[in-house]
């Protein structure tokens, strides 16, 4: 490795961050316009999204090129490890806010609304979970744990296993195992997403369970929705990894990008397990 020449790699000036800034400016202002029903909104958001993709592609291409040309020594590798760990920690905290919300609704706010004092404002309201709040007059069916959610749990768990198997392949320089493992993982992830989409449309059309279905619908869709978004991002990153594998990237001792994606994928897995228990099951 080129470790001798340098103890650290400091990148030279780059326009990518600026492009990323532009992307977020467009996305944010477009979103503001959109939610306030300005017709320009969707257009600006789309533009922002395009710039974002352009930036991610360009920035990561630069990083990959630097990595493949051996500019990253062990120090840089260690930096990436720290950074990815802390990034995942920040994601954990983001989900924690929503899990905390679900906990709060079930243990505190809904029982409080049905308390003796609460009866003054909401007579005859009772605090059974699932609950859409005292002001919700329709009927809806809650999501059962068995069926699609249980299948999805199995899917995600096995995708974790196939990914680890792929990683073993990489470590043993068994490229076939690596490729096959990756492809299986991506397939399982895609299957998960489509089942989830099916579940949503079923809930909307047949169970009258919507985002607007009080606190139950709110927490259900926001938690599973953000999780689904993360699965989608994970699958995208896995696909990028697959292409890099096909292009011959990664060595048994130098493949942090692959590991980072694997960490991310396992994190998404664990979130799902928690979701399965607290959102669907109990």
């Amino acid at each position: 490795m080129t470790q001798q020449g340098s103890y650290y790699y400091v990148p030279s000036a780059s326009y990518w961050p600026l492009v990323g800034t532009l992307a977020l400016l467009l996305l944010a202002s477009g979103a503001v316009l959109w939610v306030n029903s300005y017709s320009l909104g969707p257009l600006v958001v789309t533009l922002g999204f395009a710039v974002l993709i352009f930036m991610l592609a360009g920035w990561f291409r630069t990083v990959i090129r630097e990595s493949e040309s051996g500019l990253y020594g062990q120090r840089v590798d260690a930096s990436f490890r720290w950074a990815m760990s802390w990034f995942i920690f920040s994601e954990v905290m983001f989900f924690a806010a929503f899990f905390g919300t679900l906990f709060y609704a079930r243990v505190l706010s809904v029982p409080d609304l049905a308390s003796v004092d609460g009866q003054l404002l909401w007579p005859n309201f009772s605090a059974i979970w699932p609950n859409a709040g005292p002001g919700y007059k329709d009927r809806f069916s809650p999501m059962a744990a068995m069926g699609i959610p249980a299948i999805n749990t199995l899917l995600l768990l096995s995708s974790g296993a196939t990914l680890t198997w792929a990683h073993w392949g990489l470590l043993k320089s068994n490229r076939n195992q690596l490729r096959l493992g990756l492809i299986l993982t991506i397939a399982l992830g895609l299957l998960f997403i489509s089942l989830q989409a099916h579940e949503y449309s079923h809930a909307y059309s047949e169970m009258n369970l919507k985002l607007t279905t009080g606190i139950y619908g709110t927490t259900f869709y926001m938690l599973t929705g953000f999780h689904g978004l993360h699965v989608t991002i994970g699958v995208t990153m896995l696909t990028v990894m697959l292409f890099r594998v096909l292009a011959g990237h990664f060595k048994p001792d130098h493949h942090f990008a692959f590991e980072a994606v694997a960490w991310y994928w396992h994190f998404v897995d664990v979130v799902w397990l928690l979701l399965f228990v607290v959102v669907y099951w109990i």
Partner: protein, 527 residues
């Protein structure tokens, strides 16, 4: 100090760095980025400060003179958000960028491009905030805490604030990841964790706090967004949600946030006091542990902002005790600084003046914090000017004073020139006097029951408000002097030596003044 066997850092080829605007737009150099952060911070300080002056002008006497009540609320909200997220936090990130690599012997921050992005993201974030004043309906007039359901009622300005918070969150999380990684991974050989400068330590812990709580804030405003536009029921009782839920989520972020705002300041003071006492910092290890304890405790005290929201009495008692406990590690710090000065050889250059002023006033702010922590008493003081006084003592006399101390302390290193000591002292004394004039009397207003966030008030509050407003204008004008001092120091002035303060310690003083564009390309070794 020896040359390291590790070889050099591979930095961009010398002489190839872009010049002019391109240099600043695309730079990956920690010093450039630090400079950008500092100028940005000062600009936002002026913007937020002018808003403060509008507030104070309106409150100069009873009646509405200047702005309509809804405008007043908007200005208060933006003042709070801009000062905290635009002025104070970026100032400390600026110091971190400039100084941490110098202090720990690293050639740069761990991720140069990411570092650049963290900075530039602040621009759209602040643009969204400031332009919200001019959109139909105006900015969010809900207080920097953005409490629903009021924030659900707001117009488009609220959405701008929400997305601004998202971008600020991304910026500060990425910045923090960078700082943590730099501190953990790029220290010079031999610099063990317990030999690390206090400023690096406090930032390490601050960065951890930021990564832990900014995502939660992002989550909270996301919930506001979906409640506003997509019919969710997080904060609406009819749907089974609860406005208090927002307060819990917000303050889970908000309380650690106030330590995010002060801990790097503690670090700075822990350099300045020993330097001008010519004596090593007393109780280095206990300083480290105290900082860590403050950070950990800060996760368990958020409920003290919600004592009147109607939580069960057991909750109130828990939060009260936990809050009071924070006085212990903070006390340890104060005592350590005092012991550092004890039997030193003290001189009183401007940084030292600001550091002493910091301790003096911050302790007063801490004490009023303790009074507020006593639940039964807080019920009388919550949402009054007593709270406003408390947090300006901690954030202006605390965070801002420590930032001034840092600027004066490191200015010679940045510019290669000495600033005018005489003017610096004048700046200190003016700031000190006007600060107290502005905020000391607010304690009395609060005790007498003047609520915060009101544009007009009962006659019994008139005198103190007038004093406070005059003080505020004095305080604001004094900052023009600061600007003048900094600019003249950049332009010229007596040449600064590599180590302009004879008592100062640390690697940053071993490189030339001004610090060359690239430093520690060969890592020093600490014995």
């Amino acid at each position: 100090m020896q040359k390291s066997a590790n070889g050099q850092a591979q930095t961009e080829a010398h002489g190839h760095r872009p010049e002019g605007l391109r240099r600043w737009l695309t730079t990956t150099n920690h010093k450039d980025i630090g400079t950008l952060y500092l100028w940005f911070s000062f600009t936002m300080f002026i913007v937020g400060g002018i808003m403060a002056l509008i507030i104070r002008a309106e409150l100069f006497q009873p009646g509405l003179q200047l702005i309509e009540p809804e405008r007043y609320n908007q200005i208060v909200t933006l003042h709070g958000l801009i000062m905290v997220f635009g002025a104070i936090m970026p100032a400390f990130v600026g110091f971190a960028n400039w100084m941490i690599p110098l202090q720990i012997g690293a050639s740069d921050m761990a991720f140069g491009r990411l570092n650049n992005w963290s900075f530039w993201l602040l621009i759209p974030a602040s643009l969204l905030l400031v332009t919200s004043l001019f959109v139909p309906g105006g900015a969010a007039g809900v207080g920097w805490t953005l409490y629903p359901p009021l924030s659900i009622q707001m117009g488009m300005g609220m959405d701008l604030a929400i997305f601004s918070v998202h971008i600020l969150g991304i910026s500060s999380i990425l910045g923090s990841i960078n700082i943590i990684t730099t501190v953990l991974n790029l220290r010079a050989p031999g610099m063990t964790m317990l030999k690390m400068p206090m400023f690096a330590w406090t930032w390490l812990i601050t960065a951890f706090l930021i990564i832990a709580v900014m995502p939660v804030f992002a989550g909270a405003v996301t919930m506001l967004l979906t409640d506003r536009h997509f019919g969710t029921s997080f904060f609406s009782a009819a749907g089974g949600g609860d406005p208090v839920l927002y307060q819990h989520v917000f303050w889970f972020f908000g309380h650690p946030e106030v330590y995010i705002v002060i801990l790097p300041g503690f670090g700075i003071i822990s350099h300045v006091i020993p330097a001008f006492s010519r004596k090593p910092l007393f109780g280095y290890t206990s300083m480290v542990y105290a900082t860590a304890s403050i950070a950990i405790l800060s996760f368990f005290v958020w409920g003290h902002h919600m004592f009147t929201s109607g939580m069960p009495v057991a909750g109130q008692i828990f939060y009260m005790y936990a809050t009071m406990l924070i006085a212990v590690p903070t006390g340890v710090k104060v005592f350590n600084w005092t012991a550092t000065m004890w039997r030193g050889a003290l001189t009183f250059e401007t940084p030292m003046l600001f550091a002493i002023g910091f301790i003096f006033l911050f302790v007063m702010g801490g004490f009023s914090g303790l009074v507020l922590a006593m639940t039964a008493v807080d019920v009388q003081m919550h949402n009054t000017y007593y709270v406003v006084a408390h947090f300006h003592y901690t954030m202006v006399a605390g965070a801002l004073f420590s930032a001034f101390a840092a600027v004066y302390y490191w200015l010679p290193k940045w510019t290669g020139h000495m600033y005018s000591e005489m003017l610096g002292k004048v700046h200190f004394w003016l700031t000190m006097i006007f600060f107290n004039m502005t905020f000391f009397v607010q304690h009395f207003l609060g005790l007498a029951g003047m609520p915060r966030r009101i544009p007009d008030y009962a006659l019994q509050f008139a005198d103190f408000n007038a004093i406070s407003s005059i003080g505020a204008f004095g305080l604001g004008l004094s900052q023009l002097l600061f600007l003048y001092i900094v600019i003249t120091c950049i332009k010229g002035g007596p040449k600064a030596e590599a180590k302009p303060w004879d008592g100062a310690e640390g690697l940053e003083w071993e490189v030339a003044s001004p610090a060359p564009y690239h430093t520690w390309e060969t890592q020093p070794v600490i014995k």
